[in-house]
């Protein structure tokens, strides 16, 4: 096990302080890009906690994110509940959902899991739209709060801090160790007595929890919400790409991928929206054929070569 390195902690605190003052110096367009970026930092980092060590490509982020946003919206519009209550309930619901999905699919090979999560956001969207049209009546939902973009940004930053602390704790815990063994060889993991299914389900649950929490916090940003908008399959793919481009072998890997990718994605989707899908495809191919270990893997390889 690694020792706690003080320089790492100091660096983390400086980065956090810099991140915290962003809303004070940036405004308008820049702040809104920053909110998007910090949202993806939270999503991609929590995604990598599960998918990094296990190599299971989860495409469920969109579904959990949607559950978070949708529950906040329906709770506030249809049932007059407060934002805080709904933001507390939503992640728990998503965690339960993730547990059920995990119990059904994670006992089997990874392929079943990927396939199941592939259409999940779309399926939940269909289901929610159907329930809403037939039983609840209203179509659009309003999320009206006094939050400004800066508030949302700080809340998401706090979520990021929690995710990083959780990730750091995980990498030093028995559970994290178990997951790394599962990722290397599941048969070995089973033979040394690791409950592989349980370890995977527990971690998948936390990923679902954080994705829904982010979805709930970001909901006030849109103020008007409908199922078609929050359950976006595209979000799941973006999270996968950002995390893998950065690299999932290090806790801070996804961060390295998210920031440049968010900026590029922002430019492409506002100026060349016709090419956005094509661009996503190219990003996937880039990951597989050019940087299988992400930017972080690339940097570490260069670092080793310099020292050698």
């Amino acid at each position: 096990m690694k020792q706690v390195s003080w320089s790492g902690i100091v660096l983390a605190i400086i980065l956090f302080a810099l991140a915290a003052i962003v809303p004070l110096v940036a405004n308008g367009y820049h702040l809104s890009v920053a909110v998007t970026a910090i949202m993806y930092v939270a999503l991609a980092t929590s995604w990598a906690l599960f998918s990094g060590p296990t190599h299971y490509i989860s495409l469920a982020s969109g579904a959990f994110f949607g559950v978070g946003g949708y529950l906040v919206a329906t709770g506030m519009s249809d049932y007059d509940q407060s934002f805080w209550l709904m933001a507390a309930i939503a992640p728990v619901v998503a965690a339960i959902l993730a547990t059920l999905i995990g119990l059904a699919t994670l006992r089997l090979s990874g392929v079943y899991f990927v396939i199941f999560t592939l259409g999940l956001a779309e399926m939940v969207r269909n289901l929610v739209s159907w329930i809403q049209n037939n039983f609840l009546g209203s179509r659009g939902l309003y999320v009206l709060t006094d939050f400004t973009e800066a508030h949302i940004y700080w809340m998401l930053l706090a979520v990021c801090v929690v995710i990083y602390i959780f990730g750091w704790w995980l990498s030093h815990s028995r559970l994290g160790f178990a997951l790394r063994i599962i990722g290397n060889d599941e048969a070995v993991a089973k033979h040394v007595g690791i409950n592989t299914a349980l370890s995977k389900v527990v971690l998948f649950m936390t990923t679902g929890f954080f994705a829904a929490l982010v979805g709930a916090i970001i909901a006030p940003r849109y103020s008007y919400i409908e199922p078609n908008q929050v359950f976006s399959p595209e979000l799941s793919f973006l999270v996968v790409i950002m995390a893998l481009i950065g690299g999932t072998n290090r806790l801070w890997g996804p961060l390295v991928g998210v920031i440049p990718f968010t900026i590029i994605w922002e430019i492409i989707s506002s100026n060349f929206s016709n090419f956005s899908t094509l661009f996503l495809g190219l990003a996937f191919l880039l990951i597989v054929y050019v940087i299988p270990n992400g930017f972080v893997g690339l940097l570490e390889k260069w670092g080793r070569r310099l020292r050698a």
Binding site: L108, Y112, I115, F116, L118, G119, E186, T277, G281, L285
Partner: protein, 287 residues
Amino acid sequence: MDILISGLLLGGTYALIAMGLNLQYGVARIMNLANGEMLVLGGLAAFWMFVAAEISPLLTMLIVAPLAFVGNWLIYVFLLKPLVRRAKNQGQLEVDSILATFGMSFILVGIMVMIRSEYFTYSFLANPFEILGSTVAENRLVAFGAAVLIGLALYLWLNHSRPGMAVRAVSVSPDAAKLVGINVERISALAFALGGAVTGVGGTLISTFITLDASVGVIFTMKALIIVIMGGVGEIRGAILAALILGLVETAVATLIDPGLTLASAYLIFLLILLFRPQGLFGRRST
């Protein structure tokens, strides 16, 4: 009765698509998530030929098949074979092929959106036809007939020809196939290309009665995957039965409850299979 007949007709076409994916996953061991895009490409070709030159989709099919065969063969040889070679184990190959085919699927969608961003609407043989007391559109019947013929030909080829036998051998065990002198890489490329061609033709047939658009592919990928898993990977008969079940259930849900819930019903079937028979209806439990 109406549900039974249109469900079976839909299932017949699904069976063809699942057969394509089965060749790709069961033999070439590539989880091809761009499969649905191949299907939509077949549909786009049919739409385009019909609107531009009034060529019947049944003729377009004859053009789509060789094109899709060559296209998929090139994809396998240039993009997927390097992944097969560098993979240290099956798990690594699965992750790589999933990500790579995601990339291909997005690229294909991106290109198709540029060609046509609206629905591929055209009307071919949309006449009512009376069968066993219920009315169906002629195009569904024709598509079903063509799917059955192609499926039958494929089945006979697999079971009664030497290359067919080699394909089945690789599907059972690539390592053992190598020992008896089968060129596994060539057979895998052949199976992948053939699977792509079958899927493309399936898309051409489906486009005669379901309106497709550039981004609908992923739904068909999902359905084909569910069918393949339900039938048991590599099991042609299982896939046919599974496709008919899915066609029936979807049609029943769409008519009796809500057309928006077809995907949810497919998921329900998938979930039941995962919980109770993960090796598939016909599959043997692996040790």
